[in-house]
């Protein structure tokens, strides 16, 4: 009887035309569509309209003519060709990749290590205090952080004080290309280690405590417990965060670079995004089209890396974003 009823209802539903289903959906969910409308308007105006604006990467944009009436490039890939033959091309790609890889190599494991160490602390009050303190740099603005780095790196600054105590000589460390990347990476770790450890600590707390008990009975010491229980338990989280990180491989923090670098350190510090910034916003005729083309190249490389890491990871480990 019930099967007969449902078989009556289901075909009826499927017999509805698309238009009828839309009308039914509207009657049921009218208010939900009204609620989402401002969000969609926002996305259209401030996310999708700029995406449409990307077409100036294939045009010769003139501010007086606007996006629509500016002439198309001939050939269409003209700006990209110019970028690939730009005398700074090699330096920009190299710097961006090197700084990004260094940040990943040293910055990615740091919060994992911190989480593992925090996890071994038994006094929960001390543990919470350490956590609160290490989150702090995340809430300090980039302007303030970089200003402090500059104060510490000046000729008579803190770093020089420290180095001379060990027999070194005073210098302005940010003026020297040899130290720029070290300063960048160390300060990056200082800024993010605490905040990025939150997610690992959360993952750690969800590991089944019985496993540790069983391992202890089997005679495993603490180091062995970390290797055989804690790390495998963290692995899915680590992989997901690694994929997300790879999707930003060419997104080195340009705000920080702009605040730290100077013409003495361009050879190691100048990255794709700061170059596009200078092309358009630091005097001279703004080269909007050229900047946009370089930016588009940057975004595409990021998306490719995200998809590639995701693909490899889904093959190797069953962990993937999508």
């Amino acid at each position: 009887m019930t099967t007969a009823k449902s078989s009556k209802v289901v075909p009826q539903f499927h017999r509805l035309t698309f238009a009828q289903r839309v009308i039914r959906d509207w009657k049921l969910n009218k208010w939900k569509y009204i609620l989402i409308l401002p969000v969609l308007v926002y996305l259209a105006l401030f996310c999708y309209k700029p995406m449409y604006g990307l077409i100036i990467a294939f045009k010769n944009y003139k501010p007086t003519r606007g996006i629509e009436r500016s002439a198309w490039m001939d050939p269409w890939y003209g700006w990209f060709e110019r970028f690939f033959t730009d005398p700074y091309f090699g330096r920009l790609i190299g710097n961006t990749f090197i700084i990004s890889l260094l940040t990943i190599v040293f910055g990615f494991p740091a919060p994992i290590l911190l989480a593992l160490l925090l996890n071994e602390i038994k006094n929960s009050k001390f543990k919470r205090t350490v956590q609160t303190i290490t989150y702090m740099p995340y809430f300090i603005s980039m302007v303030v952080t970089c200003a402090l780095i500059r104060v510490y790196c000046q000729q008579d600054g803190l770093i020089s004080d420290l180095v001379t105590a060990f027999g070194g000589t005073r210098q302005n460390w940010l003026m020297n290309s040899a130290y720029y990347r070290t300063i960048y990476i160390i300060s990056e770790i200082w800024q993010t280690i605490g905040w990025n450890s939150i997610i690992y600590l959360a993952a750690l707390s969800s590991i089944d405590q019985d496993q540790y008990e069983a391992a202890r009975i089997d005679g495993a010491n603490r180091f062995q417990q970390v290797i055989h229980i804690t790390l495998p338990g963290l692995l899915p989280t680590i992989i997901i965060l690694f994929i997300l990180r790879m999707g930003r491989i060419l997104s080195v923090g340009y705000e920080k670079t702009l605040l730290l670098y100077n013409s003495n350190t361009y050879d190691v510090a100048d990255i794709i995004s700061t170059y596009t910034y200078r092309l358009s916003f630091s005097g001279g005729t703004p080269q909007y089209s050229y900047s946009t083309a370089i930016g588009l190249f940057n975004t595409i490389v990021n998306v490719v890396f995200l998809l590639a890491t995701n693909f490899i990871s889904s093959r190797v480990s069953d962990n993937s974003l999508f």
Partner: protein, 301 residues
């Protein structure tokens, strides 16, 4: 004779384990010192005599001399005052917009049986991975006539998709029976969002307010692109001029130049204290909610 062992816990700790515990605590204490020292340095420097700062900008462990003159300047200089005023305007207008859009977005993407939800969700998620970038965003702001207006700091970042996902997950945790019974009582979705959902996810809203608030408070880059007048700059950009560009922007703004020169170094540190301490006082109270937010955003992103 004295070898009688006291029974400890289940299994006796090895010497190696104890040594590790001690080293671990030492590492943590060092980490705390490295994190806290810069703020202590700033605090000491802000009350130190200017002449000392000019001569010894290196290691400072306590104030040398004591003067609060730089704070007086930080509270009276027109450019700094307009900086505080502008950022407060941005916060007061932005935060309600941020929260309302995030709440709506979270509510609709959390609800079921919407015919066009897959499309809507795709349109929202796509913006996380692909964007126009710096120049198209800038030209867009110009085209919309927002250039050199505080709206340029408010509207382009009106909603963060990442935060909307956090909000969605919180809303998914609200029992469906609550919304269903409200429907039966004749409530529409707007009433449900504000009367039922909002009060139930207040902890999440508090964290979102913190994220958005800190984001606006600490932002400087967009303002440097989108604003032309010094009087419209928010506080971080004023600080950038003082701290990074080392420009004499304070002198040129028609104030008491003797006073500015007298505290040229110390004013840097007192403005850092005034802009950073409010944020640092708030976040520890919301700390226990961070885990949820970060977890959701990263894993389900």
């Amino acid at each position: 004779m004295t070898t009688a062992r006291k029974p400890k816990n289940h299994i006796q700790e090895s010497v190696g384990s104890k040594v590790f515990d001690v080293i671990n605590v030492i590492i943590m204490l060092l980490l705390c010192f490295v994190t806290l020292y810069p703020m202590w340095y700033v605090l000491c420097a802000s009350v130190t005599e200017n002449a000392y700062l000019v001569a010894h900008p290196g290691a400072i462990f306590w104030p040398h001399g004591f003067t609060t003159g730089s704070y007086g300047l930080a509270f009276s200089h027109p450019l700094l005052l307009s900086g505080y005023k502008n950022i407060l305007i941005v916060l007061l207008v932005s935060l309600p917009i941020n929260i309302i859009l995030t709440l709506f977005c979270g509510y609709v993407t959390a609800s079921k049986n919407l015919m066009f939800k897959p499309i809507i969700q795709f349109l929202i998620m796509f913006t996380m991975f692909f964007s126009g970038g710096m120049i198209p965003a800038y030209l867009n702001v110009r085209d919309l006539g927002l250039y050199n207006s505080l709206w340029a700091l408010i509207l382009p970042g009106a909603m963060s998709v990442y935060n909307a996902i956090i909000c969605r997950t919180a809303i998914q945790g609200v029992p469906e029976s609550l919304t269903e019974s409200a429907y039966l009582d004749g409530a529409n979705d707007i009433i449900i969002v504000f009367r039922i959902i909002l009060p139930l996810i207040m902890p999440t809203i508090a964290v979102l307010l913190l994220y958005y608030g800190v984001g606006h408070w600490n932002a400087w880059f967009n303002a440097s692109l989108y604003l032309a007048d010094n009087e419209k700059l928010p506080i971080q950009n004023v600080m950038r001029s003082i701290l990074i560009a080392n420009s004499n922007v304070l002198n040129s703004a028609g104030s008491d130049n003797d006073m500015v020169n007298q505290y040229a170094e110390a004013i840097k540190y007192s403005t850092i204290i005034l802009t950073t301490v409010p944020v640092l006082c708030i976040y520890p109270f919301l700390q226990k909610y961070f885990v949820k937010g970060v977890m959701v955003g990263a894993v389900k992103g």
